[in-house]
Each structure stands twice: as structure tokens, then as C-alpha cells.
Amino acid sequence: GESVGLHLPTLSVQEGDNSIINCAYSNSASDYFIWYKQESGKGPQFIIDIRSNMDKRQGQRVTVLLNKTVKHLSLQIAATQPGDSAVYFCAETGANSGGSNYKLTFGKGTLLTVNP
């Protein structure tokens, strides 16, 4: 989930298990959400996105769930692999992001560690 301060939430799973990473957002007008994966020394890598008119979207081994009622977003990774170890960020934007819908607001991230 989201962190307060400098300490990243961490999730440690065994290889082959499913992982669920959570994100809470505060802007009820947010209408576009993205999950990014960031490995050490790299830029954020796009994983999957979802618009507010949907509550679920699936990709390859990943599923994003959106609950607008409680302003909660989750990323599910099936059969987690060591290569999935990284920091995962949720990001959101919406019509009242300063009057724009391009300015992404990022969460602090969650560190996923996959143990072989």
C-alpha cells in the first residue's frame, strides 16, 4: 500500500505464489490509473493501465482492480517470478489535476521481493 515518510512498504513472496500490491488514492476525480515497475537504476516501466469506467483489466500475468467507492487500486501478479522483484508504483490522473489530465500523481511505491 501507500507509505508515509521515507520507508517503502515491502512485500516478500515465494516464487510461484501470487502477489497483490495495493494502492490507495485520495482524488475522487481521478479517472486514469497506471501501474509501473521500477528496477534498480532504471526508469519506471509501464505495466498496465485502467480507466475509471472499468473495475478490472487483465494483461499477461497481471490484473488491475479498481474500486472507486473506496478509492483503492490493486495489482495482482500471477505466478510471481524472481524477475518481478522491483518497486511498483501506482499513478493517477484526472480532470482536476490542476485542470489537466496529464499530470500523473505517483504513490511512494511498494518493494516486491521474490524469493526463489
Binding site: L6, H7, L8, D31, Y32, I34, Y36, G41, K42, G43, P44, Q45, F46, D49, R51, F89, A91, T93, G98, S100, N101, Y102, K103, L104, T105, F106, G107, K108, G109
Partner: protein, 114 residues
């Protein structure tokens, strides 16, 4: 190239010097963004360019920061009279258009101010 390209990948400079960071977006992407990522933090929006429109500079932390985008493609972020608090990773992203499109990031420039 296939992705967003940033240079240099690392930059170490003395406090008070000026630095210039470069971003080459994905070909055909009209929107370009700069973000800053401090150690252990999320990404902080700095500036946004879209086509020939006036850039959104609302995220620039001080007037020592400026950016330009020439010919609708390459962008440079300039920091004048660098301070130690400017040390961070500066990330550039581009997207096909601005609204509801994923932003694709480069690997950033890691800036260290001594």
C-alpha cells in the same frame, strides 16, 4: 530509438555549477514530461510539453530550473547554480498524446551535487 533516451546517465558536479540534461522522446510522441525522483521517493512532476502549446511549468521547484523543447522533439532541462538538494534522478517521459495515455520513461539522469 525504440524508447526514451536520456543523457548523461550520471552527472556529478560541484555546488553552484549549471547542468543541462537531455531527453530524446519516442518518435511520434507529442507529449513530453520531466519528473524528479529523490532517494526512496515517488516521482515529482516538473514540467510538461505538448506540441506547440505553452508548457506547463507548474512543478518546477525554483526559477533556477528551466526547460525547453526544440522542434517538438528533443528537450533539455537546465538547472542553474545547483544546490545539494537538487541531487536526484531526473526522469523524462513521453506519450502519444496527453490525455489518458501511458507515459513511457527513460532511465533517467542521476545527478549528484557535491
Amino acid at each position: 530509438g525504440a524508447g526514451v533516451s536520456q543523457s548523461p546517465s550520471n552527472k556529478v558536479t560541484e555546488k553552484g555549477k549549471d547542468v543541462e540534461l537531455r531527453c530524446d522522446p519516442i518518435s511520434g510522441h507529442t507529449a513530453l514530461y520531466w519528473y524528479r525522483q529523490s532517494l526512496g521517493q515517488g516521482l515529482e512532476f516538473l514540467i510538461y510539453f505538448q506540441g506547440n502549446s505553452a508548457p506547463d511549468k507548474s512543478g518546477l521547484p525554483s526559477d533556477r530550473f528551466s526547460a525547453e523543447r526544440t522542434g517538438g522533439s528533443v528537450s533539455t532541462l537546465t538547472i542553474q547554480r545547483t544546490q545539494q538538494e537538487d541531487s536526484a534522478v531526473y526522469l523524462c517521459a513521453s506519450s502519444l498524446r496527453d490525455s489518458n495515455q501511458p507515459q513511457h520513461f527513460g532511465d533517467g539522469t542521476r545527478l549528484s551535487i557535491l
